[in-house]
């Protein structure tokens, strides 16, 4: 099966973003991080656990009508370090790049320390520094190493 065939299975998009090589099983977390839940009307295709030479199994997310910026997708590197971003215009991939590790993640994760000021009703966004083996709250310094998706901030 060629790569084109595989992409056809989840339908090609005309204009938008294809996020490929997502760690298998993480597609829904990717959508959560990007704050895409379908309520704003964009077409979203999700393929999960597709065979991948590089990853064994991978997920693919296609978002029609929305070009995601590098900053928006870099945060994905925390849960999908091998992800690649394809910007599509008129069915053609016009830009392709890998995600890179950001130094700071703002407004995406919730601090698991219930005694952290960032969890209170204060006019601040959560802010985590990306450290060697996880992320660290910039306010209370709590380190999250495992299961980052469990800490994605609820709307």
């Amino acid at each position: 099966m060629t790569d084109d065939d595989r992409q056809l299975r989840v339908s090609k998009i005309r204009n938008g973003t294809v996020i490929d090589h997502i760690t298998g099983g993480q597609a829904l977390n990717v959508l959560a991080i990007l704050d895409i839940d379908g309520t704003s009307g964009e077409s979203v295709s999700v393929a999960m656990n597709m065979p991948s030479d590089r990853l064994g199994k991978k997920d693919i997310v296609k978002v029609e009508g929305k070009e995601l910026s590098q900053n928006e997708v870099d945060v994905l590197s925390l849960i999908a370090p091998a992800a690649s971003i394809n910007i599509v215009r008129e069915f053609e991939v016009v830009e392709k790049h890998r995600v890179s590790r950001p130094s700071l993640v703002e407004g995406i994760l919730e601090c698991p320390n219930h005694n952290c000021i960032s969890t209170e009703d204060e006019p601040v966004r959560s802010r985590f520094a990306v450290v060697d083996d996880g992320v660290r709250c910039e306010y209370c310094e709590t380190i999250i190493r495992d299961n980052l998706p469990a800490h994605i901030l609820a709307d």
């Binding site: 320390n113 005694n115 952290c116 000021i117 209170e120 204060e122 601040v124 306010y139 310094e141």
Partner: protein
């Protein structure tokens, strides 16, 4: 606060964590504190007309009184928010709003708050210098400065072996001190029950700094080696439930009998208040340094305020 000695400039706008303090910063404050302690009257009019805003959202005796004393001995005065019960916080005002209002009344702020990260967040909303006087189980950098002053006076910073005992998990004075000691030639021994060992974030920093650290569950494993023994209170209010508190309370208690195994010149410190972790019979021994330590809070906070205000005038 670069270059050391009195008259040197503060590089920091706010004092939030011991992590931000370099060896040069620490020496600058301690040297200045020593100058002040030698001749306090020379500083009596140093900051006339300066007002220090005190925002204590948690009870405090030593820290609050020593900041008050320090500001008054520099010729200034304080404005005090008072207790939370009598303030607008009781009406649900956010901390960010409170500090933005109070900064209009004062030239510098001192904040104690029960939540971790509160001082860091508050500092993002004010332009006047803000000093963290304890944020939950986070940091207490001014306590650390007076601890370091006491250590330097009694044991020195070279080839120092220090034992830090008690509540290492929730004790903010411990977290700040452990960070700061990575700046000096110190071996740090941490003595606590397993349930109260250092939090992951502090271990991470000590590891990053390459600190010489060992952990113990019994004091007698290490007591004969120590130059300084820093004892902390097992803090009831930090425990999620009473049974966990009771399980460890009283386990790490020292008395004059315990200290027979120690070096003759051991320095015993405690940030106070103590409950029963240091028996009163230790008070009359040569080891006891905790009241001197508490006294040092005034010159050290005078020095810190002087350097902070000097650079922000």
């Amino acid at each position: 606060m670069v270059g050391g000695g009195s008259g040197s400039k503060m590089r920091h706008d706010h004092i939030i964590s011991a992590k931000q303090l370099s060896r040069a910063d620490i020496e600058a404050v301690l040297d200045h504190a020593a100058d002040i302690a030698a001749d306090p009257s020379a500083y009596a009019d140093r900051h006339a007309d300066t007002l220090l805003g005190l925002l204590f959202f948690e009870p405090s005796t030593r820290t609050k009184m020593s900041f008050t004393t320090a500001m008054k001995r520099l010729g200034g005065d304080i404005v005090d928010m008072g207790s939370v019960e009598s303030s607008s916080v009781k009406k649900g005002e956010s901390l960010a709003d409170t500090v933005r209002v109070v900064e209009g009344y004062a030239d510098a702020l001192v904040l104690r708050h029960p939540m971790e990260g509160s001082a860091k967040m508050a500092s993002e909303f004010v332009d006047v210098p803000l000093v963290n006087a304890g944020d939950g189980a986070g940091q207490h950098p001014t306590q650390t400065l007076l601890d370091l002053y006491t250590i330097r006076e009694n044991a020195g910073f070279d080839d120092l072996t220090i034992g830090i005992m008690g509540d290492l998990k929730y004790g903010r004075t411990v977290h700040s001190l452990a960070h700061a000691l990575t700046n000096v030639d110190a071996r740090q021994h941490f003595i606590s029950p397993e349930s109260l060992q250092l939090p992951r974030s502090v271990r991470y920093d000590l590891h990053q700094e390459g600190a010489k650290v060992r952990e113990h569950t019994e004091l007698d494993e290490v007591l004969p080696e120590l130059d300084v023994l820093y004892v902390t209170r097992i803090q009831r209010e930090r425990f999620p439930d009473e049974s966990e508190y009771r399980a460890v309370a009283g386990q790490y208690r020292i008395d004059s009998e315990t200290l027979k195994a120690a070096k003759d010149d051991l320095t015993v410190m405690h940030p106070l208040p103590r409950v029963d972790e240091i028996a009163h019979d230790v008070d009359d021994t040569e080891y006891a340094t905790y009241f001197e330590q508490a006294y040092n809070g005034v010159p050290v906070r005078m020095a810190l305020l002087d350097l902070l205000l000097e650079d922000n005038e």
